[in-house]
Amino acid sequence: MASNQIMFILFAAMIIVFSVLTVTSRKILRAAVYLLFVLVSTSGLYFMLNYQFLAAVQLTLYAGGIVVLIIFSILLTSHISQKFESSGWKKNVFSAIAAITGAILSIITILDYKFSATTEAAKEVDMRLIGKSLLSVDYDGYVLPFEVISVLLLATMVAAIVIAKKSGPAKTQSPTLNQE
């Protein structure tokens, strides 16, 4: 068994185990930490696939940014040690059936398919290429999405402001922040 296989199995096992833990753990902060592990393992896979740039982005943006955001919000809204009750067994069973059916369906269909690789030469993924592609206006160039995503982020910012912004007097319902 080659080292990369071992690494893959390691990462895969981590991803699967921690994913499952993320969605089953009864302590919310732990779940967040498990999610972090999943994301880190995923970036490991990216490294394996030779997408170092993306792995880095994954680590910084996802593991660094999003998970932190989530943890903050957890801290804002929950008690850290609070164990929440598991949901009803019915819900779990049906959801599990649905998820497993979906997974089996997808896996069977995937296994059924004969993938064929392109015959063209592979491109080396270096930063220069990524930068060029990102700013290219030609075929296989990504400047437009890049620009649009900036609009998206701007809009997101405004959106977050809209939600958070206090404006005008409360009319119908008084805020009922729980000051415990």
Binding site: K91, S95, A98, A99, G102, L105, T109
Partner: protein, 639 residues
């Protein structure tokens, strides 16, 4: 060729009078309307007489036969290429004979009504309806084709309905008019079906074409057989059904006695003299087809006629309402006419029955109208219809008494009054063709004499009844018609019908057949005698007899429970067991289904509301499973 086209005015005049009186009479000349109506009818009568004279005495005969003359004809409605409804005037012996008869009686009744109806509310309405009736009846007899006849057939029905229900605030009158209309309407259904079948086979409505013995309609024979009888026979039986209804033959007779709820002049005109004989006229009109193409139907005519006459005569013996007695008598006499047609053949002496029937129709109109008008005068005088409440009226009502007596004698067939001749011909015709029917009619002749004189004696003799106020003789407007009709009853028997009105239009020889005539006179006298014994004075014999034949009497008195049977059919069967279930079915099944569709939709809508539970995760669950299901479906199951 004589121009008869003016005869259209015989039809148009009464119609215009109806419109005039109906639309404007109430407002502008309520008092005058009687005179206007009577005057108009007098004109028509004159026209009719002129026509009759010209037709019988000046028009050319072809091969010794009176021709059928289409005096006027327009296409009213084109149905198919060949079938079209025409309106027109057809003159032939029977129609001209009817013309004379109808206008005469009608004029008398009009005059009579001037007195009888004086001061009644709706005086102008009465005359308007009478005009409508005259129009319809004349249209019926003058019809050039069977569909025109049907049209006017319906119209006489409706005028009869209107006149029976003249006293529309009287519930019994309303009921009677309704009954008359519906019963005859049911019979007319048969007539219509008959017309449909007939016209489908012969492709024509026209009488001349239809009844031409050498024509295609008859030549093609009976057509294919259907349920054992030829199609033609079926159609003629159906047509006859119309006649049965209108002429109050068994089993559609039940409306006639009730129709006596109408004003008495109406009973005289419509329910004695004219409309009720329309059935006879119809058979006579179609006679060649009956005779050649549908002899089986003709037998039906004969037996129905005979049975009805017997049936009615028996009932008449037990009734106490004088108008009802007369009504049953009418039915019985019409039975005679039907029978005569039924036993008749076509042409020459074989057509004796035909001639006799028409003859009797004519004479009967006179004496029966007379009887009714007389009865009207009596009722006018004593304000009751029941002979049990009358008696000894000969002192108060001399003219009425005399004329009534003449009429009774006439109907009893006492020579030399007209009834004797016509009835004798019928009996003779029956005698030659069917001994059984002859026997029946012979008995009926006796019964007739009996119940007529039972009536006569009960009214004019019998006990001395005490009246609230002294009865007095009717005014001249009422007595003059009585006298005129009495004269008619006496002398019309002398008209040589065998020369004028015969089945093929040709003259044939008849003679008094003593072998028939003498016994018939004898049995008539016997009937009178029995009546004399029983009702000349107050006696207990009738009650005893009634007690002896308890059940028979009771059945006859209750008209053999025919009314109850009909009530049962209409109320129970049609209303309770058909209409109400239909209405229920419609409400609960048909409509219920529609409502059920709606409520099921609502219900489903309510049941599935759980999907929209407000739970985000359930939504997601549906989303995911939906996607997976679609994928499974379209990848593996239904590719």
């Amino acid at each position: 060729m004589i121009n008869f086209s003016y005869t259209i005015w015989i039809l148009l005049l009464p119609f215009l009078m109806f419109l005039l009186l109906g639309l404007a009479g109430h407002k502008y000349f309520p008092k005058l309307s009687g005179l206007i109506g009577t005057g108009g009818l007098a004109v028509i009568t004159v026209l009719s007489y002129i026509t009759a004279f010209k037709y019988f005495f000046t028009s050319e005969k072809v091969e010794g036969a009176y021709q059928k003359i289409t005096a006027f004809n327009i296409t009213w409605l084109q149905l198919t290429d060949k079938l079209h409804i025409d309106l027109g005037v057809l003159l032939d012996p029977i129609s001209v004979m009817m013309l004379v008869m109808i206008t005469t009686v009608s004029l008398m009744v009009h005059i009579y009504s001037l007195g009888y109806m004086k001061g009644e509310k709706g005086f102008e309405r009465f005359f308007a309806f009478l005009s409508l009736f005259s129009f319809s009846m004349l249209g019926l007899v003058l019809a050039t084709n069977i569909f025109q006849m049907y049209i006017f057939w319906e119209l006489v029905g409706v005028s009869s309905f209107l006149l029976i229900g003249f006293y529309y605030q009287k519930p019994s009158a309303v009921r009677a008019s309704k009954k008359a209309f519906i019963v005859t309407r049911f019979a007319d259904l048969g007539f219509l079906i008959g017309i449909l079948i007939l016209s489908f086979n012969t492709r024509t409505f026209d009488f001349i074409t239809l009844t031409d013995p050498a024509g295609a309609a008859i030549a093609q024979g009976g057509g294919i057989a259907f349920m054992g009888l030829s199609v033609m026979t079926w159609s003629m039986i159906f047509v006859f059904m119309g006649g049965v209804g209108k002429s109050a033959m068994f089993p559609f007779h039940i409306w006639l006695p009730d129709a006596m709820e109408g004003p008495t002049p109406v009973s005289a005109l419509i329910h004695a003299a004219t409309m009720v004989v329309a059935g006879v006229y119809l058979v006579a009109r179609m006679f060649p087809i009956y005779a050649f193409s549908a002899p089986a139907a003709l037998d039906v005519v004969a037996y129905v006629g005979a049975f009805s006459s017997l049936f009615a005569a028996v009932i008449a013996c037990t009734q106490t309402d004088i108008k009802r007695v007369l009504a049953y008598s009418t039915m019985s006499q019409i039975g005679y006419m039907m029978l005569a047609l039924g036993v008749s053949g076509y042409g020459g002496h074989a057509g004796l029955g035909y001639m006799a029937s028409m003859f009797h129709l004519f004479t009967h109109a006179m004496f029966k109208a007379l009887l009714f008008l007389g009865a009207g005068a009596i009722i006018h005088a004593v304000h009751t219809n029941y002979m049990t409440e009358m008696g000894g009226l000969r002192k108060y009502l001399p003219i009425t008494h005399m004329t009534f007596l003449i009429a009774c004698l006439t109907i009893a067939g006492i020579p030399p009054l007209s009834g004797f001749f016509s009835k004798d011909e019928i009996l003779a015709a029956a005698f030659h063709n069917n001994k059984l029917l002859f026997a029946v009619e012979y008995a009926v002749a006796g019964l007739t004499a009996f119940y007529m004189f039972r009536l006569y004696f009960s009214i004019f003799w019998g006990k001395d009844t005490h009246y609230h106020h002294t009865p007095h003789e009717a005014p001249a407007t009422m007595t003059i018609p009585l006298i005129v009709l009495a004269i008619g009853s006496v002398f019309t028997g002398l008209i040589p019908f065998n020369e004028l009105v015969t089945s093929d239009g040709k003259v044939f020889e008849t003679e008094l057949e003593l072998i028939v005539a003498i016994p018939s006179v004898l049995i008539g006298l016997l009937g009178i005698g029995i009546a004399f014994v029983m009702y000349r004075k107050e006696s207990e014999i009738p009650d005893k007899l009634a007690a002896t034949f308890k059940y028979g009497y009771k059945w006859a008195y209750n008209k053999f429970y025919m009314d109850e049977l009909y009530l049962f059919v209409t109320n129970k069967i049609i209303f309770r067991y058909i209409s109400e279930p239909v209405a229920w079915f419609d409400r609960h099944i048909v409509d219920g289904t529609m409502n059920a569709i709606a409520s099921v939709t609502q219900n489903v809508s309510f049941r599935i509301r759980g999907f929209q539970s407000g739970q985000l995760q359930k939504y997601a669950f549906v989303f995911v499973t939906g996607a997976i299901m679609l994928a499974i479906l379209f990848i593996y199951l239904w590719k």
